[in-house]
Subunit: 323 residues, 4 copies
C-alpha cells in the first residue's frame, strides 16, 4: 500500500488534536501544511513530520504535486480550499460544513462531479466503530426492516444558532441519513429557553421508516444517543462508544449483547482517535483515493444534509416535503 | 389512620399479581371481592383476606357499605362498574382505560363531578418512585424550565392497535402530561411493518416545551425510557427504576447522580409492587379518600389522555391543535 | 400437581413481606399459621388465606396433618421448630440460620437423616434467576473450568458481629459453595473501623479454584456482586438481578451478553419475589416434597456453611484447612 | 513555563502509540530520539518532531545536553538507560518495570538518591483522572478511613508468568499501594488452568485496612476494576474511566454520583491519552523536573512494588510479613 501524498490546509486546535495525530495510521504521507499563521504551520509541520510549510494554499497546491488536500478551518475556507484543490486535480477531504451555505455546497458538488475527483466531508460519526457495527446490525436479516430511529445530539449553550446547525447539526443529520436513507418529510417543533433552542424534529424516510431527533443546546456537556427499532429488535449506541443490541425474541437471558471499549488496553482500537471516528474517516478517504474503497460521506451527502439543515432552521411546526 | 373499606371488582391475573398484594400496605381493608367466576372470587377472597364474595357488582355495592370500589377488568367493565359505584356514593379507583371511548370517559367525568366523588385512574407510572423523583428534579430551580421531553414506551407485537393504544398508550401519554403539562399541538408519523405500528409522535406543550414520543409495538419485550431536558440539565429514567441526573454545569466529576434500587435488600421500598407504581397509586387513592391527599390521576386526566389517544390514532403526518 | 399442605411457623415482617406472598405461586396450600402473638397470626391467616391459626407449634403440628412446615423466626426457633416438625414426619423449610450454632446444626442434620425427611434452608440467593443462569454459564463447556470467584456481600453497620455472620454471612458462603464446590482452605484478614468489621476472606476450593470474598458492614445500603472467572471467560452478577457474560474470545463486538429484568412489565418473572429468590426457593421445596425435584440447599449445606462461618469468625490472618 | 528538553530512548509500538503523542501536551521538547533501528528512529523523529536521531544512547546523552531522558523498551534497557542517564545528570522517566529484578531496582534507587535526580516509573494508572478522583474521594473526611480495597486487573492468556508479573502485576500493585499505603502482610492462593494462573491475593496494610486483589490471565481481554470501602461509603472505578461513588448515608435517591467521559466531545480531557494516564504521568514528570511538583511514582515506589511482586510470585497459601 502506497501512502497517499497529502497537503493539510489549517493548523487549528481541532485539527492538531484529532486529525493530524491520525494521519500516520491512515495511510497518508503529510507532504506539506498550510496556515496563514507561519509559526503555527511550522510547529505543526515539525510535530507531525510535514516536509514543507506554506502560508498560501494556492502556492502549496501548485508546488507540491499532491494526491489530495485535507482542509480544516472556517466554512468559507472549506469552500475556497476545496475548489482550489479540485481545480488542481486533487482529491479533497474537508471538515464539515463543506461550505457556509447550501448553494455553495451544491456548487462544490457540481464542480467535483465535473472534474471527477473525490470530495469527502468530515462526517466522522458514521465511521465510528460503534456506528459501523450499528449499521451492520440494522441491515441484518435478523433485525428486520428498520422502522424507527431516535437520535439525540445535544450540547451546552451555543452563541449562534446557525453555527450550531452547520457545525453540529450536520453531524446528526448525516448519521440519520446514513443509517436510515433519504428523508422525505420533516417537521420541527422548537422551544426557546434563555436564547437557546430545543429542536424536536420528526422525520419520515423513503423506506417508510420514521424518526425522532432531539437537536438542542440545552443539555449539559455533549450528549449523544441513537436507538434504531427494527422488527422486534432494538439496537442502541450511547455516548458514541457503547453498543447494546436487544435481539429479536423473548424475555430470556442472553438475548441482549453489549459492548464497550476496554480502556485498560492502550491500543489503537481503543483509542479515541479510532472510537470517535476521526482515524477511520481519514483511512477511508485514503483508501478511496487509492481506489481501494468506494467514496463515502461525499459532497452529495453534504448537499443532502445542508438541505435538511435549512429546513430545520426554517421549519416551525409544519410537516413539509423534502426535496 | 383508619383503613379505607373497599370492594374489589375483578379477580383476573393482573389484579391478583399486582393490585391485591398491594392492598395490605395501602391502608385499605378488603371488605369484598366480586367476579363473575365464583371460584375465582372465592380463591382471591381467601388469598387476600376478603370478608365476602359476590358475582354481581350491584349486589356487592348495595350490601357492603363500602367507602370505595376498585375496578380491574375489560374497559367496558371499568365504565359500568365506575358508574354503578359512583351512583352508590363510592369513591372509585379503576384500571385504565376508564372506558372504551372518549365519549364514555367524558360521561364518567361529568358524573363523578356531579356526585362529588373521587374517580382515580390506574396511571401507576406517575406514582413509581423514580418518576416521582424525576418530577421533583424537573420542577427544581436548579433544573431550569423543562424544554424538551423524549419518552419511549415500546413493546412486543400486539394483535389490535386500538387495544395497544387504550391499554399501553394511555400510560405514556398520561406520564408525559403529568411531567410536562397540557399538550397543545401534536403530530404523528407512522411506520407499519408486518402489521405492527411505530408511532413517532411530536408534541408541543402549553409551557412552550416540546416533546418526542416513541410509541411502538416493534421492540423486543417492553422498553421504557424518559429523558427530560431543562436548561443545561438532563434527567433520565430508564427501565422505570433507574434514575440518572446530569446536573447543570461543567464536565467535572461528580455532576451526575444516579440511583437504582438495591435488590439485595428485600424490603418494601425495593419491591416491584412499590417500584412499578402499583402500591403507591393505591396508597394515594386511599389517602385521597381519607381526605389526606389531593386526588390525582383523576378522571379529568383520563379525559385528556383519551382525547390525545384519539388524535394519535387518527393523525398521520400533520401538526394539529389539541383542544 | 397437588399443592403441598403446609403450616407456617412465624408471622414476622420478613415472612409477611417475602415468604407468605410467594406461597400461592409456589404450589403450596397454607393450612395453618402459628405465632405466639395471636393477633399477628390471625391477621396473617386472613391476609394469606390460612385455614387455621395456632399459638403453639406443637399443637399445630399434632392437629393439622401437614406435609411440611415452614419456619421463620429467631435462630432458636428454627432449631426447635425444625426438630419438632421432623419428629412429626413433616418435611421442613426453615429460614437461615438453621440453628444458632454449628453443633445444633449438626444435630438437625443427623436427625433429618435419621427420619428421612427433607430439611431445606433458606438460602434463597442460589435460587435467584440470575444466579441460576450464572451457574449454568460457569458449568458450560465454553466457559472452561471456573478458576476464581470474587464475591461481595456488604451492608450497612450492624449491631452484633455474630448476628451479622449467621444472618448475612451464611448467604454469601452458601452461594460461593453452591457455585464453586467445597472449600478446602480459608484465611480472613480483618479491619475494624468504629466497631464494624471488613472481612477480606480468601478461599481455596477442592476443584483447585480460588476465591476472594468481601464480607463487611462498612458499605452503604446492601451491596452484592459476584464475578466468576473461567478459562478466558468472565461472568458477573451485580445487584442480584443484572447478569453480564464476557464470553471467551477476542475484542470484537458481540462477545458480551447482558441481561436485566424488564421492570416495565409487571409480571411474575420480573417481580422481586422471583428475582430475589424467595419464590423459586419455596417452589423448589414444594417440588422436592412432591418428589419432583432433588432436595437442594439442604441441612447438609447448612452444616458446611455454619462450619465455614465459625472459621471466618475465629480466623485472623492465617491460612487454615477446612474440614 | 519552559519546556523540558528530553531525549527519548526507544521507538517501539507502545511508545509511538501512547507516549510520543503525549509529549506535545506534556510540557516537553523532544530534542532527540534513540533506537538501535535507525529507520525507526528516523520515522519517529519526523512524526513527532525530534531534532536529532541516535542509535547509541550514550552518544545521545553525551551530545544533547538534555534535562531528562525518557525510556521505553525491554526491562534490561530500562535499567541500563536509566543508569546511563542518571550518570550524566539527567532526570529519568522510564516505563515499568524499572529493571528485570528487585536487586537491580534497588541499585537504581540507590544511585538516583546518590546523584539527586528524579527517577519516575511508568505507573500511569495512578495518574488516570478517574483514579486521581478516587484518591481524593477516599481521602475525604466524608468517606471515613478506607477499610478494604478490592482490585481486579486481569487479562487474556500470557506466555510467560514472570513477564506477566513485571509488565502487568506492577501496575495493579502500585495502584493498590498508592491508594491504600504500605502493605504489611500478604498471601496468595493460586489456581493454574491450562498453563495460566489466577492469583487470589489478600493483603493487610499498615493503616489496618485489608485488601483483595485478583491478578489473573484467565479473563477475556483486559478487565480492570477497583472498589474501595470506607466507613459506610464505597467508591468504584470500572474500566479505568467510569467512577461511581456511593456516598455515606441512607437508601434515598441522589446518594450516588457517577461519571464517565463524554466521548461525543473530542477534546483532550476525553482523549485516551489523558484518560488512560499516559499524558498526565508525563506532564507530572515534566512538572517535577521543573521543580513545580513533588516527584511521584518514583523508583522508591518501584522498589516497593518489585518486592511485593517477588512475594506474589513465590507465595503459595501462606500469610507472610512484607518488609
Amino acid at each position: 500500500m502506497t501512502d497517499v501524498r497529502v497537503g493539510f490546509i489549517g493548523c487549528g486546535n481541532h485539527a492538531t488534536q484529532n486529525l493530524y495525530p491520525a494521519l500516520r495510521y491512515a495511510g497518508m504521507d503529510l507532504a506539506a501544511v498550510c496556515d496563514l499563521d507561519k509559526r503555527k504551520a511550522q510547529r505543526v509541520a515539525r510535530q507531525f513530520g510535514a516536509h514543507r510549510t506554506y502560508q498560501d494554499l494556492g502556492t502549496m497546491l501548485d508546488e507540491m504535486d499532491l494526491d489530495a488536500a485535507l482542509v480544516c478551518g472556517p466554512p468559507e475556507l472549506h469552500f475556497e480550499a476545496a475548489l482550489a484543490a479540485l481545480e488542481r486535480g486533487c482529491h479533497v477531504w474537508t471538515e464539515k460544513p463543506p461550505a457556509p451555505t447550501l448553494a455553495e455546497t451544491e456548487q462544490l458538488a457540481a464542480y467535483a462531479a465535473q472534474v471527477g475527483r473525490i470530495l469527502q466531508i468530515g462526517f466522522m460519526m458514521r465511521f465510528a466503530p460503534a456506528y459501523v457495527r450499528l449499521k451492520q446490525i440494522i441491515e441484518s436479516e435478523e433485525f428486520g426492516a428498520p422502522s424507527l430511529i431516535e437520535a439525540k445530539y445535544c450540547c451546552w449553550n451555543v452563541s449562534n444558532h446557525r453555527h450550531h446547525l452547520i457545525y453540529y447539526g450536520v453531524h446528526i443529520l448525516d448519521l440519520v441519513r446514513h443509517l436510515m436513507g433519504e428523508v422525505t418529510e420533516l417537521a420541527v417543533l422548537k422551544c426557546e429557553r434563555d436564547g437557546q433552542l430545543a429542536n424536536a424534529i420528526s422525520l419520515r424516510f423513503a423506506s417508510g421508516a420514521v424518526g425522532l431527533v432531539n437537536f438542542s443546546s440545552l443539555q449539559p456537556r455533549v450528549q449523544e444517543r441513537v436507538e434504531v427499532t427494527g422488527e422486534s429488535a432494538l439496537a442502541i449506541v450511547d455516548n458514541r462508544v457503547n453498543l447494546t443490541y436487544h435481539r429479536p425474541g423473548t424475555n430470556e437471558f442472553g438475548e441482549t449483547t453489549w459492548s464497550r471499549p476496554d480502556f485498560a488496553i492502550p491500543n489503537q482500537a481503543n483509542s479515541t482517535l479510532e472510537l470517535q471516528g476521526y482515524l477511520p474517516e481519514l483511512s477511508h478517504f485514503a483508501a478511496a483515493v487509492r481506489g481501494e474503497a468506494e467514496p463515502a460521506a461525499t459532497i452529495e451527502d453534504g448537499v443532502a444534509v445542508m438541505r435538511l439543515l435549512d429546513l430545520v432552521e426554517q421549519n416551525e411546526g409544519e410537516v413539509v416535503q423534502v426535496g
